[in-house]
Symmetry: C2
Subunit: 252 residues, 2 copies
């Protein structure tokens, strides 16, 4: 007779919390993901096994997984199992890059790394990343190009503590999405991001790098990316040259 009690699998779990069972299960799964019990790309136990582990019905586990799947934290594959989502999947590669070519061309942009260094985090960055002033940060500057034309100038900051061995060489050598490298090489998985967009005038240095006249209008995209537990782990500022590209957004 389905008790309302806490699902007691784990020994000292506390947190009775009178939320629906499936929400409690979801929170437990989330905790396991955060703790790295299942790594990105790996499969998690079957619904049947999880139901046994948490002492609930399979349907309840299913509902918890459903929500995690719609939040893109898990991916279900019929007949195979449920997997921890990855930034490397073909289907959703560059999930966070909304820039499209006006003519619909799907050609991926080329990367050119301009700079990668460790330094003390500027105050505003430190505040967002929750670093103590003086803590180390990694700063990366890069260009994205469509053929020969530069289209995006990205500046990004990462907490130094999480990205210990990150060097320019390693970044240049990597093929595939940067966020995939972050999760496979540093165990930091970006699951959500917020962006603030504005139109700005190109400064002299930016203009030179993007091959536009100084003062040309550019789309500024300020991003803060979060990992499990809503922890900010990346601050990024992109300048997009939108002469032949646009930022595409879907409102639903």
């Amino acid at each position: 007779m389905a008790e309302t009690a806490t699902p007691d699998a784990a020994p000292a779990d506390a947190a009775p919390s009178f939320s629906p069972l499936y929400q409690q299960i979801k929170a437990l799964l989330l905790r396991s993901l955060q703790a790295g019990e299942w790594k990105p790309g790996e499969s998690i136990p079957s619904e049947h096994d999880l139901a046994a582990r948490f002492r609930v019905s399979q349907g309840t586990v299913r509902k918890a997984i459903d929500e995690l799947a719609t939040e893109n934290l898990l991916v279900r594959r019929q007949g195979k199992g449920t997997f921890v989502a990855t930034h490397g999947e073909q289907k959703i590669q560059y999930r966070f890059l909304r820039l499209k070519a006006d003519d619909g061309a799907a050609a991926p942009l080329q990367r050119r790394l301009l700079d990668c260094r460790r330094l003390r985090a500027p105050a505003d960055v430190a505040r967002v990343l929750d670093l103590k002033s003086g803590d180390a940060a990694v700063q990366v500057r890069r260009l994205l190009l469509a053929g020969e034309r530069p289209v995006v100038l990205d500046d990004l900051w990462l907490p130094g503590g999480l990205f210990k061995g990150l060097t320019a060489e390693r970044m240049s050598a990597w093929r595939g999405p940067m966020y995939q490298m972050f999760e496979s090489e540093f165990g930091v998985r970006m699951i959500r991001a917020e962006e603030k967009l504005r139109a700005v005038a190109a400064g002299p240095e930016e203009a030179a790098l993007l091959a536009v006249p100084p003062g040309a209008p550019l789309l500024s995209v300020e991003r803060v990316a979060y990992t499990y537990g809503d922890r900010a782990v990346e601050v990024r500022r992109g300048l997009y040259e939108t002469g032949a590209h646009h930022y595409r957004n879907e409102l639903a």
Copy 2:
């Protein structure tokens, strides 16, 4: 023994389609919504009644409604029923307006109607709205202001056939979101939109209206809004002055 046959409620339904039952139910509900069987704000029949009507279990109806609810077409309210979504709800008002003040102020923007006239749709607009060249369209131009400062200059086109009695007077008189007026006065409900964002330089006329110098960078937002059946029913071009505001986006 759950037949795979078509749920036969409607007489000549055809479309056997070997999709899951709940998807078929979802399609039937969608058709009723499109046909106006339940108007925006009204409640639809209870899950129990719908289950009887379609000759399926309550759980199957529930799953169909679940999907329509996550797509924002329906709103569930425990104890009360399930309702056709509206652009007037407090919670999700201005769902499609992503502009926020940098300082976080939530003060709603003031509207100032500049123009509202009927004319033949320009070729590009006609193509998107699927109008025959020469068909009438309504063109609206308006300004959104934060206090005294103009922030948004909107130009929008609507198919003339759907918006028969739309006049400047009626628009000025309306309080509340424009999309709410469209659905309550003209029976046209916007359910989805796509936007293309770029940075552009202000032209002379636009600069004057937005009180910025000519050539100032502005955020251009081109929107196409769709109603049921993916039918485009609005084309809009907004110019945002992003000196003290930004376009906020959430990537998940």
